[in-house]
């Protein structure tokens, strides 16, 4: 089986490739990338005027299995991924039960095989039940194929436990992804602590909670010589802490979300929980610092922190609604419209942060169009104008702050292992 994607602008940051070219796929693998490939293909995809790049990788999503299928499951979540141009997503273990054993990792891998339309990687918990007390069986989970470890949603209170986890995991060369908010400073907080929270009377989650958490985890990782990945960084000072640590040679990496790159707490209103997310939407100076971090390489990748909740959970009083919203189907539109189009971020850097860089950090067999790689490919129409419509979401999540936004730029085809799984917004049945 041969597929030829013809005449698109091929952007493959892993190979520093950016030219109009054809991509030949043979038996699910990349066979050749070159201009005017003459080959009898079974299927030809015309891509003139389109961007052809490695399929996007999102190392921070919540597909909610097991136990929270009212919010999302592997089928709905992976379809949302395909619709957004993602070919690999890594799902977080803050489920019910928490994914903290190899048996659970394996059962989810089996679920992914049966139900998912894109590659789903499993992130295991760092501590049993994500309680921050006893180490989870990370060795066993590594051998079962867990891609990374995280107690996402929680900050490990005990520095000793965190240091032990860093030390222990060094032998397995896996990365810990840390949610960085010092808990005593964010109790009951529902939005950024700022002038806006002061005026609304809402309890705040201050940037300093993130800053000291990031500093502690960098200091511990530096001391242990271990790797740490800072999840959804959102504060200006925290970005600078990562920048300085990288300069010292600390093995720290970081990720940022479209929301923290484009939205401020001015968007928070009293009646709609769509903007409620952790870490919260910050101030303009933080948004600018996160973008600067993306541009100067301090922040390695862009993730969505896709966090769907059931409609009835989000549709309530702001302070009682759960935090998070879906992001897989809106990320590219947001990044292209709000960052690339106005010239704040170049297209190649954006694609690199969605492909090559996460693949490198998490050692994935993905994220490039090198010959022999799995043919995970996204075709983007940079001119396509569309409006975010909740009714067209594949995710079960609702209440996205992007609903109603007019975006320019959208993934129009997603191929996983050479197979077309999404065509012009429609996810094909597998």
């Amino acid at each position: 089986m041969k597929t030829l994607i013809k005449g698109g602008r091929v952007i493959d940051p892993a190979n520093s490739f950016d030219k109009v070219a054809d991509v030949l796929i043979e038996d699910g693998k990349i066979a050749k990338v070159a201009a005017n490939i003459k080959s009898a293909a079974d299927e030809v995809i015309e891509a003139e005027g389109k961007i052809v790049c490695p399929g996007f990788i999102d190392m921070h999503v919540h597909l909610r299995e097991p136990g929270q299928e009212a919010k999302e499951d592997f089928e709905s979540g992976s379809k949302a991924a395909a619709a957004g141009g993602y070919t690999t997503v890594a799902t977080m273990p803050n489920t019910n039960p928490v994914v903290d054993t190899a048996a659970l990792v394996r059962s989810l891998q089996k679920r992914a095989e049966d139900a998912a339309v894109v590659h789903v990687e499993i992130i295991g918990a760092v501590t049993k039940g994500q309680k921050g007390e006893e180490m989870a069986e990370m060795g066993d989970m590594t051998q079962a194929g867990a891609v990374a470890f995280s107690d996402d949603g929680h900050f490990t209170k005990s520095a000793k436990v965190m240091l032990n986890c860093y030390d222990y995991l060094k032998s397995f060369d896996k990365v810990i992804i840390n949610h960085e908010e010092e808990p005593s400073l964010i109790e009951e907080g529902v939005m950024n602590e700022s002038h806006r929270s002061a005026m609304l009377g809402m309890k705040g989650r201050p940037t300093v909670a993130e800053d000291i958490a990031v500093y502690r985890d960098i200091a511990l990782a530096e001391y242990a010589g271990a790797r740490v990945h800072v999840a959804h960084i959102s504060s200006a000072a925290a970005v600078d802490l990562v920048r300085q640590a990288k300069k010292r040679g600390v093995r720290v990496t970081a990720e940022a979300t479209p929301q923290h790159l484009t939205m401020t707490d001015d968007m928070v209103n009293l009646f709609d929980s769509s903007t409620k997310v952790n870490p919260p939407l910050r101030c303009q100076k933080d948004v600018e610092a996160v973008l600067e971090g993306i541009k100067d390489g301090t922040i390695d990748c862009i993730v969505t922190d896709h966090s769907p909740h059931a409609q009835e959970e989000k549709d309530r009083e702001y302070i009682y609604a759960p935090s998070g919203f879906p992001g897989l189907e809106t990320a590219l539109g947001c990044l292209m419209t709000d960052l690339v189009a106005p010239g704040k971020l170049d297209m190649v850097t954006m694609i690199s942060k969605l492909t090559a860089e996460p693949a490198k950090i998490f050692d994935l067999n993905a994220g490039s169009l090198s010959v022999g790689m799995p043919a995970d490919i996204t075709v983007i129409d940079p001119e396509l104008e569309w409006t975010v419509d909740e009714k067209k979401f594949y995710t079960r999540g609702s209440h996205s702050p992007f609903i109603g936004r007019k975006f320019k730029g959208k993934a129009v085809k997603t191929l996983v292992d050479g197979k077309l799984v999404m065509d012009h917004g429609v996810v094909l049945e597998v």
Partner: protein, 322 residues
Amino acid sequence: MNKGVIVLDNSKVNLRGKDVLALADFSKEEIQVILESAKEMKNIIHRDIKKVPALRGKSIVTLFYEPSTRTRSSFELAGKYLGADVVNITAGTSSIVKGESLRDTLYTVEAMGVDAIVMRHKAEGAAEYASKVASPVIINAGDGAHAHPSQGLLNLFTVQEHKGHLEGLKYAILGDITHSRVARSDIQGMRKMGVEVHLAGPRTLMPRFLFEEEGIVIHDNVEDAIKDADVINVLRIQLERQKAGLFPSPREYARIYGLNDKRLALAKKDVLVLHPGPMNKGLEISPYVAYGDHSAIQEQVQNGVAVRMAILTHALIGGNKA
């Protein structure tokens, strides 16, 4: 005024159907019109027969998710003096304890043909949410630390009644600004009417990013806020705040931040003392001040009924003759 007939002047503003969520949503003119009407309403309270048919045929539900003595009964009496039918729903004795969502409770109340819902809730934004969900007029009777517009209006009314004007007055608010919907409503209302607002209290109870804007001054000691003040509004200090580590002891609070005779002497001779109630006498306010010559605390309660009568009338029938 004709006996039993209320005619509101809507030549400038018509508030019919407007949700009363926060004073931030009201213009100076709108506030003035409500204060004017409250004067007429106050006369009704002083009558032997306290009943006018202005809101006859209208129905009002008070929906209270938090305990309240004065606000709830004040709205209830306000509605009843105006001839409306008033039903009270409190969280503890309704299907709310069975886990009914706010949306569904609002739908239920709305389906019964209610014209206005007076709502108290501990979640900031609950009234705003309700206004998006339900079609009856929503009147916010307090949402968490966010807003308490009828309290802000009754404070304005009380001050105006005593001082004859509002513009240029020095208004001090003492105590827990962070957790106070009264303080936020005062700041919004007083600033709109040209009153200068001075805030003082422990820094732990002062929002960190409530930076000084025009007409808002934050002081580190209460004396500076009180000095030459025309009005002092003393906020209730909840004892849980001490347990949460926000001040060392009730004793120290009373000594350093409490309003007593000595501190009161720093204010203008005709200073007016307000307190939204319920008071912790001996903590934020000494009993001598609370019951002294300058105190308008009881009067605030009566004015509360008058102001709420004005709010209900404007929101429900606007400028229409009743």
